[in-house]
Structures are given as structure tokens and as C-alpha cells.
């Protein structure tokens, strides 16, 4: 079973910002087997960069370093060097990287200007989907069947191109409504801008799913971080090579899966918001989760919750939002609530509340307002930082309320725990109440009933007893959650989704995310479509060197509608979605699993 993991001189509290924290590296004292294939996972987070090297028998090496927010590449290099220095470059066959590079750039507005060309036709005014400073709408319309009902106004596109030239814009995005049925307008826009463009993202390449504004946002963000990400990728590859490493390099995505570095260069938007997914995948591996479960990550500002059901974590149906804009980027379904270790405690006429505001660090760490961590200090559940400061802060808050500081702390902790429990219940209800569209799903649809609640994060251990009282399910705090994120990154496997759309009356089949399209005859039917979709997906996985065991393909949607006009059958409208769900590499799962 998993090797015992030694921890270096660092507390498990991820909200700790104590000065004097030294980076540390550990390695297994006994040598590892010759020729062993090891997986390296690096998670560059907001505060720390964590790295873990996993072998067949257990974790071989670990590193934890302060993240250099101004130079993420330096953090990656440091982590690589730390691991290689104790474990050598041989045998590291895979490196998976999760970074906040793209996320930070987008959230901070540090992205490159993008020339966005949109053709929509009637419906909701495309002006309302304006994004960036160089947004041009051109008349032109594709309908829901993929028929062109108004040609693209190339003169309008040309005017936009000229404006971009004057503004020195070098990267572009081309998006049309229903391009996933027929990409002809996006293709044409790309042709027209090509001469001026260093890079053009086309909406239909990102997903076969519908959602015009999501497609616009996805293409825009992709182009906006393309150059930044590619420079980073170049530098990472150089560092890796220079250290004597020759691994397959993968980039972690928000759905807990990976994509090869080569694919990420064309689709860097898929690397956003991968952090929470890394932790979830890590917990799944460490705790060997197999039944319905809820996974909570109690951080400094928020508690994030995810759900595990039917052997994988639940995916967000439509796609994740970033900077308030929805996209088509697949992600785990995560709900975030404003209760965390640093959440400010308030006394209101309705009672004591915790969060959602964070007014600085805990008083135990130099802050000016009592937080949940301070309350835990006052109640003697933990002893983090300057406990006396926590007490002083709580006493000041308690003044005039008629309660003593311990009681107030007790109320605050109870409030936080209750809030978490209610939100988890609400989350599960939401999931079970999600819309379905067939009668059989209405009457027979599977409901999720979590058997356990796994909790990680700084205050997790401290709150575990109270959480257990609050939840009817068993609450588990894995011992090794501090490394969950890097373990998750190391063990993540490739994911991909293909959406196939065929219309035998129009005689065409398209798989937008693979760029596949061909003519089909009137005999084309659902079984053929399903075989083709899963076949093409498998081909793609082979192309990126993901074997069948690592990346099992499943069909998640299959429908064929008879199209009828004047009571006569005219053709089939076929939709198939095949995917590889996120999961952890089975051969290495045992290496990290610990009794939880």
C-alpha cells in the first residue's frame, strides 16, 4: 500500500502566511526501482507551487515552494530542479502542469488585444456580447440546420480588418452563430484576416456545443492568452530539456483532465481554472473514492464543493465562467461559497455570521478583524499563529453583545459549519433537480446520494468533528490533503469530448472539435454515427498517445430525430456526444491511496 509520506517543516494550514517558511523537498529514503516510470505533477497555485513525483509504489519525492507571482516560470523551474535534485531525471516519463498563468492574465486584464469578428444575423443583438476593444459585427446568418440564410458581408469584415491594422492588433477570433453546424462564415473570416494575423481562433474548433456568446468569449480569451501561453510553453520545454528530463508534457484543465502541451498551444484557454480540479482529482486518488461523494476544499476565502458520482467527478454541463463571462471550457461542477478560514466574523441582529467578506488575514497573523481561524484559536480547537491576538480580537467583537469571547467564537464556528452543511445539501438538490428532456429520464433518472463527505483545506481537520455532527454522511479528512493538488496533477489523464452532428437531409456530418466533416448519404444512421464519433475520438487519443486503459471512451448522448415534412420522412437529425471522463491513472492510483 502507499508509502508513508514524510512532511517537511510546514503546517498543513494553507492559509498560513507565516514569514520564514522555507521551501522543502523530501524523497523516499530507499532507492527506487531501475527503469521505473514515474509521473511528475506540478501545481502552481496562488500562494504555493507544489510538486509531487509518483512511482508505482508510492510518492518518491515532493516539493513545496512559494509561488513567484511575477514569474510563474521561475516557480516551475524551481519545482523541477528541486525534484530532479533528489530524484534524478531518469524515469520521469510524464509531467503534468497546472498553472494560473492564463487565469491570472485574464482576471488581471493583462491579455493581448484581440480583433473579434462576429456574424450573427437576427436574434439577440450581438452588440450585447461585445468583448474586448476591437469587436466587429458583420451581417451574415447561418440557421439552426446549418443553412446559410444571409451571406457574410465581406466588406464589413474588411472594414474591421483595416481598423485592427491601424490599432496594431495581431491576434483574432472569428465566431458565427451556429458555426458548429456549418463553419463556413468562420472559415471565410479567417481567410480574410489571415494575411494580417499571427493567430486566428475560430469558434467552432473549441466545442461542438451550442452557445453563441460562450463561443465568442472562449475564442476571445483563447486569442488573448495565446502568445503569453506559448512563450511560457516554450520556456517550460526548454527548462525540462535542459534538466535532462524527457517526459510527455501535459497541461491540466478545469475538468480534471489533461491535454498534451502541443494541443494546449492552440487551445490555451483550456488551461484556465485548473487549480480546484487538481485538488479534487488528488483527493479522489488518495482516498480511492468510488461511491457518490461530496468533496469540500475549505480555503482562505471560500469553500469549494464538488461532487463525485458514477465513478468520476461531475462536470459542469455548459462550461465554466471566468471574469464573469461564460465560456465553453469544460470544467468540474464546483460551487463556491464565501466561507473560509479568513472569512470575517460579524455580529448582526440575526446572529453571528462568517463571511462572505474577507477583510484581511486572521488576527493571529496580523490582521485587524477576527476570522474563523481566530474563532478556532479561541475555542482551543487549533493553535495557529498568535493565539493571544485572536483572543483580543474576539473579545473586542464580543463587547456589548452580552456574550463572552468563547461563546461568540462558538457561535461563529457553528454558523460556518451550518452554512456549509446547508449549501452542500442545496448543491446536491440542484444537481438532482437539473433539467432533463426525455420522459424516461424524468421517471427513472438516477439521483445522487452522497455517502461520504471528504474535506480538505487548512481548517478542515479543526472543523472535522463539528462537520461530522452536522452531516448525516461520514465526514473524512484525508491525512495527506496538503499534497492532493500535485498528486491530482500527476495522476490526471487525458480528457476530450467530441460532439457529432449529422443531418441526412442536408447530407452532411460534422465533428467540430476535431475539424472532421464529410458528406453522408440518406442511409446514415445513429449506430453509424456513434461508431464514427467514438472511432474518431479513439483515433485522436492514439494521436496524443493516450492508450485505451488510460482514456476509456463512452457515449454520453445519442439521439436521432426523424425529420418530417408534409407527413413524409425526409432524413435523420443525429446528435452524438462521446467523451473521455476525468479520472486518475489506475496503475498509479494504488501508489498514492491511503486509508482515509
Amino acid at each position: 500500500m502507499g508509502a508513508r509520506i514524510r512532511h517537511g517543516p510546514v503546517s498543513k494550514d494553507e492559509t498560513t502566511k507565516a514569514p520564514g517558511l522555507v521551501p522543502f523537498v523530501t524523497a523516499r529514503p530507499d532507492g527506487r526501482r531501475l527503469g521505473e516510470r514515474m509521473l511528475l505533477g506540478i501545481d502552481v497555485g496562488g500562494t504555493h507551487t507544489d510538486a509531487v513525483l509518483v512511482g508505482r509504489d508510492g510518492i518518491v519525492a515532493m516539493a513545496k515552494i512559494r509561488t513567484n507571482q511575477d514569474n510563474l516560470l521561475a516557480s516551475v523551474k524551481d519545482a523541477l530542479e528541486s525534484i530532479v535534485s533528489v530524484a534524478g531525471p531518469e524515469g520521469i516519463t510524464r509531467l503534468n502542469l497546472s498553472t494560473t498563468l492564463s487565469t491570472n492574465a485574464i482576471v488581471e486584464g493583462a491579455t493581448e488585444p484581440v480583433g473579434v469578428f462576429v456574424s450573427a444575423g437576427p436574434g439577440i443583438d450581438p452588440e450585447l456580447y461585445r468583448v474586448g476593444d476591437h469587436y466587429f459585427t458583420a451581417p451574415g446568418c447561418i440557421d439552426h440546420r446549418g443553412a446559410e440564410t444571409a451571406p457574410l458581408d465581406e466588406a464589413a469584415v474588411a472594414r474591421g480588418i483595416e481598423a485592427c491594422r491601424e490599432a496594431g492588433v495581431g491576434v483574432f477570433a472569428a465566431v458565427s452563430k451556429f458555426s458548429t453546424r456549418n463553419p463556413v462564415h468562420e472559415n471565410r473570416i479567417k481567410e480574410l484576416v489571415h494575411a494580417r494575423a499571427e493567430y486566428v481562433a475560430m469558434g467552432h474548433e473549441f466545442s461542438g456545443r451550442l452557445g453563441f456568446s460562450r463561443r465568442i468569449n472562449t475564442a476571445y480569451y483563447n486569442s488573448a492568452v495565446w502568445r503569453l501561453f506559448n512563450r511560457f510553453a516554450d520556456a517550460v520545454q526548454k527548462s525540462v530539456f535542459s534538466l535532462g528530463l524527457r517526459p510527455q508534457i501535459g497541461v491540466l484543465k478545469a475538468d480534471g483532465g489533461t491535454m498534451p502541451l502541443s494541443a494546449s498551444r492552440l487551445s490555451p484557454v483550456q488551461s484556465i481554472l485548473s487549480g480546484p480540479a487538481a485538488s479534487v482529482m488528488g483527493i479522489i486518488a488518495i482516498c480511492d473514492i468510488r461511491e457518490d461523494a461530496v468533496i469540500l476544499d475549505i480555503g482562505g476565502t471560500t469553500t469549494d464543493m464538488a461532487v463525485f458520482a458514477e465513478s468520476s467527478p461531475l462536470i459542469e454541463r455548459e462550461g465554466i465562467a471566468i471574469s464573469g463571462r461564460p465560456t465553453l471550457v469544460r470544467a468540474l461542477r464546483v460551487k463556491s461559497i464565501g466561507v473560509g478560514g479568513d472569512s470575517a466574523i460579524r455580529v448582526t441582529p440575526q446572529g453571528v455570521t462568517v463571511g462572505p467578506r474577507r477583510l484581511g488575514p486572521s488576527m493571529a497573523f496580523g490582521g485587524g478583524h477576527p476570522t474563523l481561524v481566530d474563532a478556532l484559536n479561541v475555542q482551543n480547537v487549533i493553535a495557529f499563529g498568535d493565539v493571544a491576538a485572536s483572543y483580543r480580537g474576539m473579545a473586542a467583537l464580543a463587547e456589548g453583545t452580552g456574550h463572552d469571547p468563547e461563546t461568540l467564537a462558538d457561535f461563529a464556528i457553528a454558523s460556518a459549519v451550518n452554512r456549509i452543511r446547508e449549501e452542500v445539501a442545496g448543491f446536491v438538490r440542484e444537481i438532482n433537480d437539473r433539467p432533463v428532456y426525455t420522459i424516461s429520464e424524468m421517471l427513472e433518472g438516477r439521483r445522487i446520494a452522497p455517502a461520504k463527505v471528504y474535506v480538505m483545506g487548512g481548517p478542515a481537520l479543526a472543523l472535522s468533528g463539528l462537520l461530522q455532527d452536522a452531516f448525516s454522511q461520514e465526514v473524512v479528512v484525508p491525512e495527506n490533503f496538503a499534497v492532493a493538488n500535485a498528486v491530482g496533477a500527476a495522476l490526471a489523464r487525458p480528457t476530450f469530448s467530441v460532439e457529432l452532428f449529422a443531418d441526412t437531409a442536408r447530407g452532411g456530418m460534422v465533428i467540430p472539435s476535431l475539424g472532421v466533416h464529410r458528406e453522408v448519404g440518406p442511409d446514415y444512421d445513429l449506430p453509424q454515427a456513434e461508431a464514427e464519433a467514438s472511432g474518431k475520438l479513439r483515433e485522436y487519443l492514439r494521436f496524443i498517445k493516450a492508450g485505451d486503459q488510460e482514456a476509456p471512451v463512452e457515449t454520453v448522448e445519442r439521439s436521432s430525430f426523424n425529420m418530417v415534412e408534409d407527413a413524409t420522412f425526409t432524413g435523420r437529425n443525429i446528435r452524438v456526444v462521446c467523451q473521455v471522463r476525468p479520472g486518475v491513472l489506475p496503475q498509479y492510483r494504488e501508489a498514492v491511496t491511503c486509508p482515509c
Binding site: I124, T149, G211, P326, I439, F561
Partner: protein, 441 residues
Amino acid sequence: MSVLKAARELGIVFFPAFDWAISPTHPERQERLLYTQDQLREEGVFDIPGIDEYKPDVAGMSDVDRVHFCFPDTEGVASPSHLVSAGGAIRAGRLVMEKKAARAFAMVRPPGHHAMKCVHGARGFCNINIEAVMIERLREQYGPLRVAVVDTDCHHGDGTQDVYWHDPDTLFISLHQDGRTLYPGTGFAHELGGPGALGTTVNVPLPPGTSDEGFLYVAEHLIRPLLDEFKPDLVVNSAGQDNHFSDPITDMAFSAQGYAKLTDIVGADIAVLEGGYAIQGALPYVNLGIVLAMAGLDYSHVREPGFDPERVRQGNMITEYVKRLCEDVRKLAKNPPRQQRGGEMVGEWFVRRKTLYYDTDHITEYQTESLLVCPDCPGVLKIESESSRTPLCLGVQIPIRACPRCHAEGIRAYEQGQLKGKYRVIRLIDRKDRQYLRYMG
């Protein structure tokens, strides 16, 4: 950040029943709402803050038995698809009553407005009246509500009219293609309600070829004033879309823009999809227009591809006709003639005999309906009904506001019916005591 935000919270219950059809090539088939779903998802309607999607409830047999007399039994007519469709309407109703949304739209199938008080089978693609099932469920839960149903489907909502014919607390207004030119052949201006509910049924039979101008004229000059006078607690719109210029089985010339404006003027709290079979060229755009209008968003860019207003414009004759029609209907609704047509007084009972044809199931029904005309309450209702499938049955309904005499009379009629021994099935709907009974003879 998104500048698009619903001015009014809208809940959409979307249930396309992708695995159900009346028959594979029937207009009511799996494909019907497919392109509408594609359009709404591509337009990103469910991403707009303030617009949320919900799953339907599943109506129970008890919800159906609260409204209908199903002969010989409820199970035979209310299949899971109908219970889910009615459940969609119920969920929409609940969202509004529970204040989770300001408005709600149930885009569900199959439709319901041709299903009458007595149900022997499927009629006009409808088995149970999904709006009535919703309304009566809400009344059961929330107490007596004044409700207005505005049926803008191209076909006369004869089922809903029948259900509420004797109910003075429900205003039923139907806008439709003139019955002389289209199924079901009814819905004339003189159909104004039973003796205890005169003027609470209003019919506006429009000539074929009426387009946006005509519909909107009626909405502004007739429907809006009627609603303002009636002061309902809830307005329900039976939003059938077969009045579209491209609909294959009708002859009107309404457009998506027009329907959005109509939705605005009528201002319904709850909209429920009814008919509409131009599933590629109309439904995706009309439904988008309705959704944006209900959410208080700009719908001015909603248009069918290739829409040419000139080609569907109504002629002057229609414009004049519609104006005169509105005046006439207004007068009739204000002062309905006391003398009832199509029935006679037998003692204190008003008796009507009806023959009804169920086109979808090929059944003919013969009905004798008797209402105890009461000065103090809407009165007790008795219906004797037999069909080509089912021997003579009896239904007795005691309304919510029944006076003690009518209540007792209703109970007596139910018990007497059992003693007479001539009915195969007897059903009692006692809204006052909330008891719903069935007796098998």
C-alpha cells in the same frame, strides 16, 4: 461583464419530450421542439442572469381528477407524457406563486387546450387540459384565485372554454382563426359563457390572413381592457404558435416580432405552449421572442430568416373587419344576452346536449350537461356522457364557492346516480370538501 440582464425574473420549464410522439410522422412528434431548443441554447437564453431553466413536476392522477371526468378511467387517457406536460405547467405556476420568478413559461408538449371537462380520449392532439390542471392545482393550494386565460393559439381553445364555461371566476378569452374555416369549428362571438358565468367567455374569430396588425389591434383594444376590468390574480397565456405565417395547417400571417409584442401587451404571468407546427421556420424564433418579451428584454432584433413583412401584410378589408369585430365582441362581453343559445331550462337546471368528435382517437361522445342555476353560487354541474367506446357515465362537480344547497344537491346527485344503476362509472369532483370519488357500476 454581461450587459444583458432580465428586467423581470423568468423561469422557463422546458420539456421537449424527445422520446415521445403521437405517431412517427405526426406533427406532435419527438422532433417538434428540437430546433427551438437549439435556437434558445445558441442564443444563450439560459445564461442571461434572471432567466433560469427548471425541470417539470410530474402531475398526479389526483391533479387530473380534480379537473376532468375521465371515462372510463384516468389511466387510459393520462399517460406519463401527459402527466409530465401538465407537470411542466404546474411547475411554471408554482414558480410564480412561490415568487421564485416574476413570470414563467412552460415550453412543454403535448398540448392540452382541446381537452374538455369530460375526456374519453385524445382530441386535437390533446388528452388533458394542462392549463386547467395547473390552475386548479394552484387554487387548491392557494385558495380561490381570479384567473384569466388568454388563448392565442390559432385554433379555438374549445377544451379550456368547456372546462370554464360555468366558472365566473375564470375569464376565458380566445383569439383564433374563424371556426368556419378551421378546426374545431367553434369559438364564435356569441359563445359567452353559461348562465352563471355570462360574459366570462370571450371569443374573437379572426379571418384567415390576419397578420401582426390585426392581432395586435385585438390585444390592445380588446384583450387589455377586458383584463384590466376583470382584475385577475393571475393571467395565463395559452401560447400556441400555429398562427405563424409559415404554419403548415393554418392560414394566418403572424410573425415572431408580432408574437413578442402580443406577449408584452397581454402581460401574462404564466405562458404555456400549445400548438405550433412550423418547427423549423417559426417555433425557434417565436419562442425566442416570447422569452425575451416575458423577461423584459429587447426583442427588436428577433426575426425569422428571410422575413418579408410585405408578403404577409393583411389587406384593408381584414383591418376593417377586425376593428368592427372588436367593437362587436366588446359590446357582447359587456352586455351578454340573458337568453342562452344551445340549451334550455328544465326546472332550475340549464340543460345542454352536445355531440363531440375526438379526431385523434376517432371517438364520438354524446353528452347531456345540466347546471343547477343558483343565485348564490356558480351552481352544481352534472354531466351524463357516453361514447362509441364507453357506456353511459355520470360526472358531478361541486364548485369551490358552492352554497350549502348546491353542495347537498351535488352529493345527492352522486348518491342517486349509484342507486339508479344505469351508469358504468360515476365521478364526483367536490371542490368544497376536496373529495374526489369514483364509483364503478
